[in-house]
């Protein structure tokens, strides 16, 4: 009887087991948050020009990046090259744009401005310090040389991205 019991115990591991899938769940919390602090407004200093510069009667759009992890993200801000909505335009529009650091939550972030990289209409900042950084974009659109913009509502969009390094 004792031998039989041992034999049974030895055989037990060879009983075939059913396959089982163990799921792995996880979530990644974002450590880079982009917020529009101020919506931009086009000023119309000349009939053929729209500009967000305060000298032209406009309001600069302000975008805030909140980063909780230092040296992990790049901030990319791209100024517009076309209107998102506008009256029908029959001529070309010449666009200019630039983005600058206007406010920081840490003194060390003031170095971002000098270290920024600009290509095309995109400006890239290396967010090496955790905290908040405010960027503002100056955008100007000039219509067909000196033609007057037709009356109506014009909107354009600044694209802000947070790219993991």
């Amino acid at each position: 009887m004792k031998k039989l019991l041992i034999a049974s115990l030895l055989l037990a591991p060879y009983i075939p087991a059913y396959a089982e899938n163990a799921p792995i769940a996880g979530s990644v919390q974002t450590r880079c948050l982009i917020t529009t602090d101020t919506n931009g407004v086009f000023g119309n200093p000349l009939p053929s020009k729209l500009s967000t510069a305060s000298a032209d009667g406009g309001v600069l759009p302000v975008i805030r990046y909140d980063v909780t992890l230092a040296n992990a993200y790049l901030a990319k801000v791209t100024t517009p090259t076309s209107f998102d909505s506008s009256p029908s335009l029959v001529d070309s529009v010449a666009w200019t744009g630039s983005t600058a650091v206007t406010n920081t939550s840490d003194a060390g972030m003031s170095g971002y401005e000098a270290a920024k990289v600009t290509y095309g209409y995109t400006t890239q900042f290396d967010l090496t310090i955790a905290g908040s950084t405010w960027f503002s974009s100056t955008v100007a659109a000039v219509y067909g040389g000196t033609k007057s913009f037709p009356g109506g509502s014009y909107t354009a969009i600044v694209l802000a991205e947070c790219i993991a390094k």
Partner: protein, 285 residues
């Protein structure tokens, strides 16, 4: 176990009796200079506590210059209760900095003068320093609690405004008239006895009138004191329970069916009534 529950319930009741806090923020304390006093919050508040400091400024400097900017408050008794330093050495100026700090509800009594101090070469423009605070609103009216600041002054002030005129019987015209009249019954004992009797009655009536007048005045004073007490005492004792009184009545929706039984009873009564009214027209047998 039962005792423990009772004690816990009593403790909870006591906790709920605490007054609620009000919250606020100061104006820009650095608006007129780089040093400021901590005169913030409504006057006569008790238990004002600082729970946040926020500041913003723009440094003006050359990149190669060394500059430290200290935003801080002295602690009453020595040292600093709040201090934040930004090191701008080797960094460009012209870009503003914004910082916010949560403070662990430190009493205003501990907060000394605030300042923005600069070490090195450079300056600061567009400075903005704001404090957020909370306070107990029990002492918005100083007389609401004897422990409130300004309580004694308020009570004394109120008492000074109340003029209580003491009644001086010696200055009463009626009494002085009576006292001036000297009645000597031996002077003319036999003359005009009736006239003397009238005079005595007149004198006594004058005295009565004076006493009555004095009583009225003293009663008025007493009534004034009583009403004063009844007006002021509830002012001291009144405690308003805080919290939210939620709606407890729940109305179930649905259809309310007609009461057929009631309708039948009403109809039967109407029929009976009609019959009774019609009976008066029935021919008499």
């Amino acid at each position: 176990m039962k005792k423990l529950i009772v004690v816990v319930l009593l403790a909870l009741t006591a906790t709920s009796a605490h007054s609620e806090y009000l919250y606020g923020i100061s104006g820009n304390m650095a608006g007129t200079g780089h040093t400021w006093g901590m005169n913030i919050g409504p006057s006569n508040t008790r238990g004002l506590r600082i729970n946040g400091v926020y500041y913003q400024y723009t440094p003006v400097k050359n990149t190669e210059d060394d500059m430290l900017v200290h935003v801080r408050n002295k602690r009453v008794g020595g040292g600093y209760i709040f201090s934040s330093t930004d090191d701008w050495s080797g960094l460009p100026g012209g870009i503003s900095i914004t910082k916010g700090f949560n403070i662990d509800n430190l009493p205003i009594e501990l907060w000394g003068d605030g300042s923005i101090d600069i070490e090195g070469t450079g300056s600061v423009v567009d400075a903005n320093v704001i404090y957020s605070y909370k306070y107990n609103d029990d002492c918005l009216t100083p007389m609401s609690d004897p422990s409130c600041p300004g309580y004694t002054e308020a009570v004394l002030s109120m008492m000074n405004n109340t003029t209580i005129e003491a009644y001086d019987p010696m200055s009463d015209e009626n009494i002085s008239d009576v006292m001036d009249e000297k009645v000597d019954p031996e002077d003319e004992p036999d003359q005009e006895e009736d006239e003397g009797k009238d005079k005595l009655e007149k004198i006594l009536s004058s005295v009565d009138e004076s006493i009555l007048s004095a009583n009225v005045v003293s009663q008025n004073l007493l009534m004034f004191a009583m009403s004063h007490s009844s007006n002021i005492d509830p002012y001291y004792d009144k405690k308003l329970a805080g919290g939210v009184y939620k709606e407890t009545v729940v109305l179930d929706g649905g259809n309310l069916p007609d009461n057929k039984k009631g309708a039948r009873a009403g109809l039967a009564q109407q029929i009976l009534h009609t019959k009774m009214v019609s009976m008066q027209y029935d021919p008499k047998e």
